[in-house]
Amino acid sequence: MNVLVLNGIAKENSGLDAVSCAICSTFQSADCPTSVFRLRDHHIAPCVGCYSCWTKTPGMCVIDDDARDIAGRFISSDLVVFLCEITYGGYSYELKKALDRMIPLISPLFHKVNREVHHQPRYDKYPSILAVGILVEPDQLDVEIFHRLAGRNAVNFDCPSYASVVLDAHSAATAVTSEVHSFLKKAGGIS
């Protein structure tokens, strides 16, 4: 299983990068080739909403920066880990900036999923998603929002499976190892 970790932790919370390292080493020790993008170190322009990636250069963003490479690695992975500090229940700016640039991976055309309209997949196979949110301060409402958001993403990225976990900032680096083990056990079917 090829794993891509999108580390969306902000510079001011760089102490939480230990969580990314723990995720990486846990997957690698399970013989899963893992690559990590520490997003704040990459040049990723915000999506400008031009939709050229759907109607001018279908499947490819017209902005030539690191997001293009990330999109390629995203679609060729078996599992993508979204990692960030939970921000109002959602993703951090750093992670969201990268995710906004992943829309070339889906089609502009529509279809229905669970009686709702969604965009059609562009590719035959998409990765599973493991969303790991780090809670800097306890907030149960944010936890619920985070789980719901990961679920919505899984539908829109046509993921074969997904999981979301929320970890306390103080113990995240140690707790994430058992969460990843648990995920690997459940996702045993993922080749």
Binding site: G59, Y93, K96, I145
Partner: protein, 229 residues
Amino acid sequence: MTAHAKAALLIGSPKGSQSNSLSIGAYLASRLKTCGIDTTEFFVHQSLRSQPAIDSLLVAACSADILIVSFPLYVDCLPAGLIQGLDIIAARRCMEPPLKKPLFLAVCNSGFPEPQHSHVAIEICRSFARKAAFTWAGGLPIGGGAAIRGRPLDRAGGMFSNIRAALDLTAKSLADGGNVPRKALTLLSKPPVPAWLYTFVGSLGWRLRALANKSHKYLRARPYDEQHP
């Protein structure tokens, strides 16, 4: 709401003045104007490009009686730039304990006909309001926003009558210091057009845009299959 009340409207779409978020936000601002409330508009993505523009945004956002964000749904939540903008506002309000708790309204439009796609994004705005000491006035999830095509909402046709009516009711309620009325949410719960028609016309629209760019043959292209076989 007192006389001479002020509102700040943050447009969270990177498309700025061409956006449906502005169409919706500007209509709401015009309704607030009839209730005696002046609204100042800011394009968040442009404002983030310079410190003076950030400062202006902060002053307006923190001194307003009503703060409104109007934004498109991007990957199931707020566009990244708006998250950054809200982060900056929250940091300022935490740094200087606010004297008042202005009303905060979130208006989220999506390119899908069903309004429920926007519910998570609105909950995120609600969490922001709680953390940044705003009074949550509610959220308006607007389905089928893409069909507005950046036109002024009052000239965009009859299919948006429910959206206009919901905004009319919301403006009046906000001006009275209230929340989003239940009736407004009921009006928005019905997509502007049936889902089957929206998806048919929407898909046709994407094909026509690709045709205009001479890329219609490649609409289903998979460029990363070639790079990562």
